[in-house]
Amino acid sequence: MLEVRGLSAGYGGVQILRDVSLTVRAGEIATLVGSNGAGKSTLLNTVCGIIRPLSGRVLLDGEDITARASEAIVALGITQVPEGRRLFPHMTVRDNLILGAYRRRDTDGIRRDLAWIYELFPILEQRQRQPAGSMSGGEQQMCAIGRGLMAKPRLLILDELSLGLAPIMLDTLVDALHRVHADGTTIFLVEQDVATAFDLASTGYVLENGRVVLAGSTAELRSDPHVKKAYLGL
């Protein structure tokens, strides 16, 4: 579904990504792992049209979407849950969630999905009339993910899902994402918590210093000695 070919990109004269290629097949969960500064966010920003690449292409279902405007890319069915939440802090939790469904017209579907989000994250239902910015960090993370899910995207991109979440919350999220995936959503997970990422995804890519150094099924990657040492801390 999503294909990145030979992508090179950076910010203001500093090149971060070097010739990155990867594929996210329709209906699968894929993950890109790597440390801080490896270039994961840069890759996402390029894919979603926030920065222009220096070279290379981004294709969605074979269609070239390189350097299209972000709104156009969202309209094609890609939703990103950004790192650091980026909620609207003065709006209520409920409004933040409903805003996620901005592009949808099916009011019944929206209501059903909102109920489903509340089922996934009961604390959000409890706090639905509170300003989103008044919640704790982890609760805000849940709200950001919920907002992303409300868009009912074809491709859901999650940037640093696990940041600041209690371990038990990760269990809930992993379960939720499995359900979302079973419903037909393709998921692309960009993560630093390699253990969680490999739990969820079937295909993995390892990014180091702006290059893809390893690729394959997560089952294989899990037993790769370099991965074990550098990322799983084993």
Binding site: N36, G138, G164, L165, A166, L170, D171, L232, G233
Partner: protein, 250 residues
């Protein structure tokens, strides 16, 4: 057994009708590292905010080194020797790294250094201690994630605190960086600073904490040695989840 340097008795914080922190009582013993864990929204940061005076307490009392802390404005708490880092780091963006840390040195415990020159030297020392001195003159908004966290820590350290409250400093760090951070925190303790560490990174909490305090819905769930707390069924059910239960690693 060492002496309690900071005590909290019945600390409560309500927002409207809702208690974010409810009747929390604990001791922070001199020289220890106390881990504070709990599900998201359990009141950990709110508790730190009340202790440091960023928020007023609805009820209860916090005492430090023989003085009552509750009711004091946050700048006075800082001057008395209690420092904290923020979960979402708050750098002074238009200043350089060393200038950021200098502010800590200029205004910290007992009012800090009076002279800018002295503060600069102190700041440089602290930056060397946290291994960020190679970025001294870099603009604060040009740092990457682990560097930003270290600067936040350096700023708090430059205040020469006796007690340091860390709020999720490990979030966003990879395994190697986490090890380095754990190491750094241990070295901070060796300097005689008492620490309270809020974290979700279990590896770090296990390695660091002398004791662990668990919050749940604003109340203390349990408190004790890591081995006991992390194996407690209630903690597993409320916080750790199955990955820790299954793996039996706790």
């Amino acid at each position: 057994m060492s002496v309690a340097i900071l005590t909290a008795r019945g600390v409560t914080k309500k927002f409207g009708g809702l208690a974010a922190v409810a009747d929390v009582t604990f001791d922070l013993r001199e020289g220890e590292i106390l881990g504070l864990i709990g599900p998201n929204g359990s009141g950990k940061t709110t508790l730190v905010n009340v202790v440091t005076g960023a928020l007023s307490a609805s009820a209860g009392e916090v005492r430090f080194a023989g003085r009552t802390l509750t009711g004091l404005p946050s700048h006075q708490v800082g001057r008395l020797g209690v420092s904290r880092t923020f979960q979402v780091v708050k750098p002074f963006r238009n200043l350089t790294v060393v200038e950021n840390v200098m502010v800590g040195a200029l205004f910290g415990a007992s009012g800090g250094a009076r002279e800018v020159r002295v503060a600069r030297r102190q700041a440089e020392d602290v930056l060397a201690f946290v291994a960020l001195d190679h970025r001294s003159d870099a603009p604060a908004d040009g740092l990457n994630v682990p560097e930003r966290k270290r600067m936040e820590l350096a700023r708090a350290l430059a205040m020469r605190p006796r007690v340091l409250l860390l709020d999720e400093v490990m979030a966003g760090l990879n395994p190697a960086e986490i090890d380095a951070a754990v190491d750094l925190i241990k070295r901070i303790r060796e300097r005689g600073i008492t620490l309270l560490v809020i974290e979700h990174v279990m590896k770090a909490i296990r390695n660091l904490s002398d004791r662990i305090l668990v919050l749940f819905h604003g109340q203390t769930l349990t408190e004790g040695a890591p081995a006991d707390v992390l194996n407690d069924e209630r903690v597993i059910a409320a916080y750790l989840g199955r990955r820790y239960a299954e793996a039996g690693r706790a």
